[in-house]
């Protein structure tokens, strides 16, 4: 899993390098701290910025959500629209991964190992993953239309890097959000150096459901 993360980071770095190369002088970072309504730091919150300058579609990007120990991993993922996700089964039992979510309806009927084709997530929105065999298996994929996104760590902080200076909409999503599961949003101006942004979400109860 660590290897994958490194790989993912590397890929991102590559993108960032490209970005840096073109608009080197304008790039900046921003950290976002997310709390629930009680002020508790939230992990697995998806943080991303949207703006006019960011409309560059991602193509042939790859992502992986494995099934291991009758669990999805990671349980919360954020990807840019157009990302191909593979669902390798690391368990000995077979899984039947499905989604009835409008953002992407699909089903991978009982399989073991790595399915032949990855699934393309080309529409922004939230996809809830389930297993028709194992009711307890549950994972969320939040698909965004921007390359600038991050996920809060266990300490409730996420950092978006190499962001060109300018005005954006900062959006924060969490699976336990109350109001129709819509992301919270807020306008943000990126300068060369930025103060950390604190966001409080309307979440009372940290449930995976």
């Amino acid at each position: 899993m660590i290897a994958k993360l490194i790989k993912f980071t590397t890929l991102q770095s590559l993108g960032l390098v490209a970005l840096t190369l073109s608009q080197l002088s304008l790039a900046a970072d921003v950290t976002v701290e997310v709390r629930d309504s009680k002020g508790k730091l939230l992990s697995d919150a998806v943080v991303y910025v949207e703006g006019s300058k960011t409309a560059n579609p991602a193509t042939n990007k790859a992502f992986e959500i494995e099934q291991k120990g009758r669990q999805f991993n990671p349980q919360v993922s954020v990807v840019q629209a157009g990302t191909q996700i593979t669902f390798p089964n690391k368990d000995k039992v077979r899984h039947h991964v499905y989604s009835f979510s409008p953002a992407k309806k699909f089903e991978l009927k009982l399989y073991s190992g790595v399915p032949a084709n990855p699934v393309l997530f080309d529409k922004a929105g939230t996809v809830v993953l389930g297993c028709n065999i194992h009711d307890t298996m549950l994972a969320y994929i939040h698909i965004v239309d921007t390359p600038y996104f991050a996920k809060t760590s266990a300490s409730g902080v996420a950092a978006i890097t190499d962001l060109p200076e300018g005005s954006y909409e900062l959006k924060v999503w969490h699976y336990a959000l109350q109001t129709d599961n819509k992301p919270a949003q807020q306008a943000i101006t990126i300068k060369s150096t930025n103060q950390p942004v604190a966001i409080q979400l309307d979440i009372n109860d940290m449930k995976l459901m």
């Binding site: 993953l129 298996m137 549950l138």
Partner: protein
């Protein structure tokens, strides 16, 4: 309350006790049954409630399990995710019919999709579903009941996940009779579901009870308004139910309550049978106990009642009724003791009776018995106008026999006498012992003449000696006779008079005496006699007679015994035996004795002047001897007449001495000291001891005429006379024989050495004036005696040889 008998007491006490115990026992049994039934019913209700809840709970689980199957169906979830309303509804309907639910509802989480299968509109379903979703908890399932369109339902809500909740499914089952029936089967309880919808009255939709009962319950709830207790007893048309209220649904508008009921009445009725058999047992027990207690009380009380009855019999003098009891217990002991007592009392009474009416010594009836018999005989003889005779006899000198031979011999003699009398009498004559030595004989139907014959016969029988302990004892007796009706008309008078006659006989020594009114002191005639006798002394009506007393050796007649005669001016000549006993009784005898002494002195002096030195013997009585001044009186008389003490001698009967021997002896000693000669009269008839005689200052013995007169015929008498003469001589006494009536007697006595003789052969008692003439006659007569003596002596010899 008082009970007459012991038996009743025992029965009443024990029956009351048993009845009391039974009744006291019944109360706690009744209470225990009541308490038991109630606690049993309460427990049954609690168990029933659990059963009902379990049943509803498992129903719930079954529904949930069914619902989960559909909720997990991929196709169904796919239909939901694609908002395929028709597919969703058809799946619901299919499911509803499959699990026989009455309602099946689906509602999406986004509230934009709702599907209802069943008798319900979506609008009606919405709020119920919302409510159920809000009550839902994955971990604990609460039973949910709702009233929809007036119909009660048990409802279950199940979430549909894909994998997060995408919708809800609600399944409902109508609460119907089948459920109530099932509850009733499983729990044995009556169950009624009663509901209250908005403003409608309480209504029992479903119940195991009849419609009438349901109406009662509805009324009950209507009256109880909103107050519904948890548990209570309900009276439903006479049947008492313990009731548990199970509130299934309760909101502002609707109420649904399940009534679980168990009939107390039915439960108690099961005990009713027990109570009935208990009652039967009680009655049966009482019956058996009654019989037993009656038996026991009889067993105890009957012998006691019998004893009591016997005791009553004893009271009336009936000692015959013996009590037989072979029982070994206290009552048996009591019976035995009672029997022993009865016998003892009977024996004692028999003895008392015997003592009262029988004389122990002789075995004869006693005086009381004799009087009783006499009284009865008088009555019967009076009625038949028959005479009857009372003969009493008294032994002469019995006191002496007792004194000399002892009391045992005396008793034996009395017994022998009784036997002899009995032997002489007819069988039906009554012989009794009247006193110490007195016997009474009741001769029925005998007149005076015949009675005299009987008395003579008896007197003859007494001439033979009695054989007492191998000793021959001669006993003579006096006899008194009184005849009914002439001598007395009552038993008392008759016996008294017979005894008076007996006394006379004793005093006169004259055997059989028939009562004469003159004997009686108490009679008017006797009172007259007493007065007459007193005056007779002053009036010189008493006359002194002299009976010659001849010296048998010298044949001189210069002694005489003075005897008294009464020349009564009206009655004429009266013999002494007709007034001397009377004089002795009244005490007049003392005056007579003094008169006699006076007269004897005078006669002596008169004859002395004629040249006749006559010694005169004067009889003195017991009373004279007892009177202490008697010697002085004699001395005084002698001195007045100038008579020497040897001129007059005194004669005393043996029995008069024995009446008071000590005083008699003292008086005699004084008289002897004065120089008076003293003779013992009637010697041989009494039992004075020789030792005693020896002590007395006596100079003469006079042999009783009864011996002398019989001497010729009775050898015994002859022996007595001879031995008396010898005895007298041995004691240095002169011996005088009385009753010499012929020359043979004279000769015999002369031969025996007798000193003096008296009797008709020599001379009868005669007045003083005739004495001189007699003396002359005697002197010539006495000359012839010598010649006659020889021949008569020969005769006597011959007689003796015979």
């Amino acid at each position: 309350m008082k009970f007459k008998s012991l038996k009743q007491q025992i029965i009443v006490i024990f029956l009351t006790l048993v009845l009391g115990i039974q009744l006291v026992g019944l109360i706690p049994i009744q209470r225990a049954i009541d308490k038991n039934v109630r606690s049993l019913v309460t427990k049954e209700l609690e168990v029933g409630e659990k059963v009902v809840l379990n049943l509803l709970g498992s129903n719930n689980q079954n529904i949930i399990n069914g619902a989960k199957i559909l909720a997990a169906d991929y196709g169904f979830r796919e239909a939901i995710s694609s908002h395929d309303q028709e597919t969703i509804l058809s799946a619901l309907t299919n499911f509803q019919s499959r699990i026989r639910a009455d309602i099946a509802i689906f509602q999406g989480v986004d509230n934009d999709t709702i599907a209802v299968s069943g008798d319900l509109t979506e609008q009606e379903a919405m709020p119920v579903v919302q409510h159920l979703i809000s009550q839902y908890s994955a971990s604990s399932q609460t039973l949910q009941f709702e009233i929809l369109n007036d119909i009660p339902y048990q409802l279950v809500a199940v979430p549909i996940k894909a994998p997060i909740v995408i919708g809800w499914m609600v399944i409902g089952f109508e609460i119907d009779d089948a459920l109530a029936q099932k509850i009733n089967e499983l729990s044995g309880l009556q169950v009624t579901f009663i509901q209250h919808v908005q403003n409608k009255p309480w209504n029992t939709k479903v119940s195991t009870l009849g419609t009438d009962d349901q109406r009662v319950i509805q009324n009950y709830f209507a009256q109880a308004s909103k107050e519904v207790a948890i548990n209570r007893e309900m009276d439903v048309q006479g049947e008492l139910y313990e009731t548990k209220f199970l509130v299934l649904h309760d909101d502002a508008e609707n109420k649904l309550i399940a009534l679980l009921q168990r009939s107390i009445t039915a439960e108690i009725s099961q005990y009713q049978e027990l109570k009935f058999s208990l009652l039967i047992l009680t009655i049966l027990g009482l019956g058996i106990f009654s019989v037993a207690i009656i038996y026991v009380s009889n067993y105890i009380a009957k012998p006691i009642a019998r004893l009591s009855e016997n005791a009553k019999q004893l009271e009336f003098g009936n000692y015959e009724a013996a009590i037989t009891s072979d029982r070994k217990d206290e009552i048996g002991e009591l019976s035995k003791s009672f029997n022993a007592m009865r016998e003892a009392v009977a024996t004692r009474e028999e003895k008392v009776k015997r003592l009262a009416f029988w004389d122990e010594v002789t075995g004869l009836p006693n005086r009381a018995a004799f009087i009783q018999q006499l009284e009865a005989s008088i009555t019967s003889h009076r009625n038949r106008k028959l005479s009857l005779t009372v003969l009493v006899l008294n032994l002469d000198r019995f006191k002496e026999v007792n004194k000399i031979l002892g009391r045992d011999m005396g008793d034996e003699l009395l017994s022998q006498v009784a036997k002899k009398i009995k032997a002489e009498m007819r069988a039906d004559d009554v012989v009794a012992r009247l006193g110490a030595d007195e016997y009474g004989i009741l001769l029925s139907t005998l007149s005076e003449d015949l009675a005299l014959l009987v008395a003579d016969k008896l007197k003859k029988a007494f001439e033979l000696p009695f054989d007492v302990n191998e000793q021959k004892i001669d006993v003579s007796a006096g006899f008194g006779i009184a005849v009914f009706p002439q001598h007395g008309e009552t038993d008392e008078a008759l016996l008294h008079n017979a005894e008076t006659a007996l006394n006379v006989s004793k005093q006169r020594n004259s055997g059989v005496v028939v009562y004469h009114p003159q004997f009686d002191v108490g009679t008017q005639e006797n009172l007259t006699m007493a007065t007459d006798l007193k005056s007779a002394i002053q009036a010189h009506q008493l006359v002194l007679y002299l009976q010659p007393k001849i010296n048998m050796q010298t044949k001189q007649g210069y002694a005489a015994e003075a005897l008294v005669r009464w020349m009564h001016p009206e009655k004429g000549f009266i013999f002494p035996d007709q007034f001397i006993p009377f004089a002795e009784q009244t005490g007049l005898i003392q005056s007579i004795t003094l008169w006699m002494l006076e007269e004897a002195c005078r006669v002596h002096m008169a004859l002395k002047q004629e040249g006749i030195p006559l010694t005169i013997a004067v009889n003195i009585s017991t009373r004279d001897l007892i009177g202490s001044d008697f010697p002085e009186k004699i001395e005084h008389i002698f001195r007045r007449h100038h008579v020497t003490f040897d001129a007059i001698s005194l004669e005393i009967t043996e029995s008069s001495i024995m009446d008071d021997p000590v005083r008699a002896e003292a008086t005699l000693q004084r008289l002897a000291q004065m120089g008076l000669k003293i003779a013992i009269d009637d010697f041989g008839t009494g039992y004075s001891s020789l030792g005693y005689l020896k002590r007395l200052p006596v100079q003469e013995l006079k042999i009783d005429k009864s011996f002398v007169m019989n001497m010729a015929n009775n050898e015994n008498d002859a022996i007595i006379v001879r031995s008396t003469i010898d005895l007298g001589h041995n004691l240095n006494l002169k011996v005088v024989a009385e009753g010499i009536e012929n020359v043979e007697a004279w000769n015999l006595l002369a031969k025996m050495g007798c000193d003096y003789g008296q009797g008709y052969f020599m001379g009868k008692p005669m007045p003083e004036k005739e004495f001189q003439a007699w003396l002359v006659r005697w002197e010539s007569q006495s000359q012839q005696i010598a010649a006659e003596t020889t021949s008569s002596a020969k005769k006597a010899t011959v007689h003796q040889i015979k």
